[in-house]
């Protein structure tokens, strides 16, 4: 049985800065990383490999340099790493991204039965949380989002029981396999690659599937298959605040000034 982890290579957004003059992203030297949530998806698939003998596959759609990310997955212990890369896949929104990922999973399903597809809760760049549900709906898999615990996996009955983390509550849900599960950070603690694994992965092969393999209608992938498009990008507007008093030398004075201002503007009821 297969377990698939969908992993996306993303720019490390903590290091992204805006050029104050041109108002554009400064990306020089910004490292690409595995989307943080996806390392938990990967870890969970490795645990199923260890505990239940699943075959673990890592899947990523992206430009050719996303191979680096998939190589890391091999170093961690997945059995296969597949990069879905083709220029017609470029410029995708979430609808066409899920189309390509679902088609690849469908292809894998022709070779072996799929048990679970793990995705991250969301990415840190696009940040939509829409690709997971997209995959589930396209494949007709049970959709379980925001999972922070796998309670039980019953392969005889083909069910999985998970805990979902929602606002102010948890839900324990039992569902039929195959399932698409999106994971949150609390699910597990990702492992580090061992030195021998890392060395072995340098030689291991990342498979690359282009659209000659997936044979999707070019109007259903990439930019052409995307109902949404970005019409404008700009930096968020910020107005400089007003600094009150000299809080370093006279903290009490500054505090008094602040309270006065709040009262003046009718913001404080005392």
């Amino acid at each position: 049985m297969l377990v698939v982890a969908c992993i996306k290579q993303v720019p490390d957004t903590t290091q992204v800065q805006i050029d104050p003059v041109t108002n554009t992203l400064i990306r020089d030297g910004i490292p690409f990383i595995v989307n943080p949530y996806d390392s938990h998806a990967l870890e969970e698939s490795l645990r199923l490999k260890d505990s239940n003998g699943f075959t673990a596959v890592a899947l990523s759609m992206g430009p050719p340099n996303a191979e680096a990310t998939l190589r890391k997955a091999l170093a961690l212990g997945v059995d296969r790493s597949i990069l879905l890369s083709d220029r017609v896949f470029g410029g995708a929104d979430t609808l066409s991204t899920s189309n390509v990922l679902a088609a690849a999973i469908q292809r894998l399903a022709e070779q072996d039965e799929i048990g679970i597809v793990f995705c991250g809760k969301q990415t840190i760049d696009g940040d939509t949380a829409q690709v997971g549900p997209g995959i589930a709906v396209r494949l007709g898999f049970t959709q379980l989002t925001l999972v922070d615990r796998i309670e039980k996996l019953d392969l005889a009955k083909k069910t999985v029981t998970v805990r979902r983390k929602l606002e102010g509550r948890y839900e324990i849900v039992e569902a039929r396999l195959p399932a698409m599960i999106t994971v949150v950070r609390e699910l597990n603690r990702p492992r580090y690659p061992t030195v021998p694994m890392r060395l072995a992965s340098a030689k291991a092969q990342v498979e690359v599937w282009n659209n000659e393999v997936l044979k999707l209608d070019v109007n259903s992938v990439g930019l052409k298959g995307s109902p949404t498009w970005v019409s404008r990008i700009f930096s968020p507007q910020r107005t400089e605040g007003e600094i009150l008093g000299d809080g370093m030398r006279d903290p009490v004075g500054a505090a008094l000034l602040l309270v006065d201002r709040l009262l003046e503007e009718d913001l404080l009821a005392v």
Binding site: R87, G91, P133, A175, R176, P227, T228, V259
Partner: protein, 436 residues
């Protein structure tokens, strides 16, 4: 009769405008019909000019204005000669688009509920939906799915809905993707709305992503601004790249245009208890046997002392790494006590174990919109700012005058929080005693 040979209109070639590319994911490359764009490892385009046919597709598709057309001086001359002679083109594509989207009318808001208890974000969305419906000159619909949820229709009218579809069946008692997905798709197919809004909550995101995929339309996540352009299209503005940039997203060729909005991003509209509307019951039902998931148990963390709701608080006093230790949060608690505020914090404070995770404000925590947000010893990382920058008033207390938190603050005090915060508490206490 032979007309004088007119010079052919030069089409020019595309070139990259330095420093503007946002590495959006190779939109230009995939738009190019002749494959004359290659991407660098940094995700920026390189145009092979002699292959370019000047079709303009890449220029149109670039969200960052990083591609432009250029003409040789000779071409410029011809263009100048031809100026004013251009014939208006009949835009076949535009006509086709109209035909496709015209049947869709009306703005919908999905009313999220749990055990019949509505989520506040639904009413916040009703406010946005009302504005959109007014600019489009259409009606605002509430979509209510659940079991024993009839009472929510009247609530929806109080917050601005004109009509309410109500799907009331036992099978909808607990939210599960499959039955809600089927119900939503049934309604969309039958009534064809042009805009559908949902809260960007655990439930809303689960459902919206599934519905958009089934209906094969676009979905924009976590919008912070919604508006209508001159062609009845929804302009959806949202943060991306961890809040470092804002993007306006369009879905002009497909309907419905779907969007989610995080809680507390839109203001709650005033409730009008006298409002009335039209209830539209729908008989749609699904057999339990066709559903492959079951909610076995719901565990609410209402138990115990910690049921503080940061997201809904009117006043928040927040602490970050500058607090230095868990015990020091006592000074924030004291200030919060005087203000009737709730104590929240940055991820650093939560990761250090000084605060429970549900008090975290920011990208991976709660989005808040209190009347007053007081940030103490918080630097103002972008991931924190996206969670609190829409607060009515932001007060920053930090000893580093360069801290980015001052860029979003209404009022700032540059100083040591261990001096400033107790002084604030004292002053407010004094004032209260003087009144009493």
């Amino acid at each position: 009769m032979s007309e004088p040979v007119k010079p052919k209109r030069p089409r020019g070639r595309a070139r990259v405008v330095a420093g503007k590319c946002a590495a959006c994911g190779a939109r230009c490359q995939s738009a190019c019909p002749v494959d004359c764009i290659e991407m660098t490892d940094a995700g920026e385009p390189l145009v092979t000019a002699d292959k370019c046919i000047g079709c303009l597709k890449c220029v149109k598709v670039c969200p960052a204005g990083a591609l432009e057309m250029f003409f040789t001086p000779e071409e410029e001359k011809i263009l100048a000669q031809l100026a004013g002679t251009a014939l208006p083109e009949v835009d076949e594509e535009e006509l086709e688009r109209r035909r496709r989207i015209d049947p869709y009318r009306g703005v919908w808001v999905f009313v999220e509920q749990n055990d019949g208890e509505p989520a506040r974000v639904s009413w916040e969305l009703m406010g946005s939906g009302r504005q959109l419906a007014d600019s489009l000159d259409v009606e605002l619909f509430a979509v209510i799915i659940g079991s024993n949820v009839g009472h929510l229709a009247q609530e929806a009218f109080c917050y601005g809905a004109d009509c309410a579809y109500v799907l009331d069946q036992p099978v909808f008692a607990r939210y599960r993707t499959e039955p809600y997905l089927e119900a939503m798709c049934y309604l969309v197919d039958k009534y064809k709305p042009e805009v559908v809004l949902m809260g960007a909550t655990g439930m809303g995101r689960d459902l919206a992503g599934a519905v958009a995929t089934r209906v094969k339309t676009g979905l924009t996540a976590d919008c912070t601004g919604l508006g209508i352009d001159d062609k009845r299209n929804l302009m959806q503005t949202r943060p991306a790249f961890g809040g470092n940039i804002m993007a306006t997203i369009m879905c002009d060729k497909f309907r419905p245009q779907m969007a989610t909005v995080r809680p507390h991003v839109m203001p709650l509209p005033e409730r009008n208890p006298a409002a009335t509307g039209l209830v539209l019951p729908e008989g749609f039902d699904i057999s339990e046997a066709a559903i492959f998931s079951r909610v076995l148990e719901v565990i609410t963390d209402k138990s115990g002392k910690d049921r503080v709701d940061v997201a809904g608080a009117e006043f928040i006093v927040s602490g970050g790494r500058g607090l230095m230790a868990k015990e020091n949060f006592a000074i924030l608690e004291e200030l919060a006590g005087e203000l009737g505020a709730v104590v929240g914090g940055s991820r650093s404070a939560v990761d250090a174990g000084w605060l429970p995770p549900d008090r975290q404000v920011g990208q991976t925590g709660k989005t808040v919109r209190p009347k007053i947000y007081i940030a103490c010893g918080i630097s103002g990382a972008i991931q924190h700012l996206v969670g609190m920058q829409d607060s009515d008033v932001i007060i920053a207390i930090n000893r580093d005058p360069e801290a980015p938190i001052f860029e979003v603050a209404t009022f700032g005090i540059v100083g040591d929080l261990f001096d400033v915060v107790p002084a604030l508490t004292m002053r407010i206490r004094e004032l209260k005693q003087a009144r009493a």
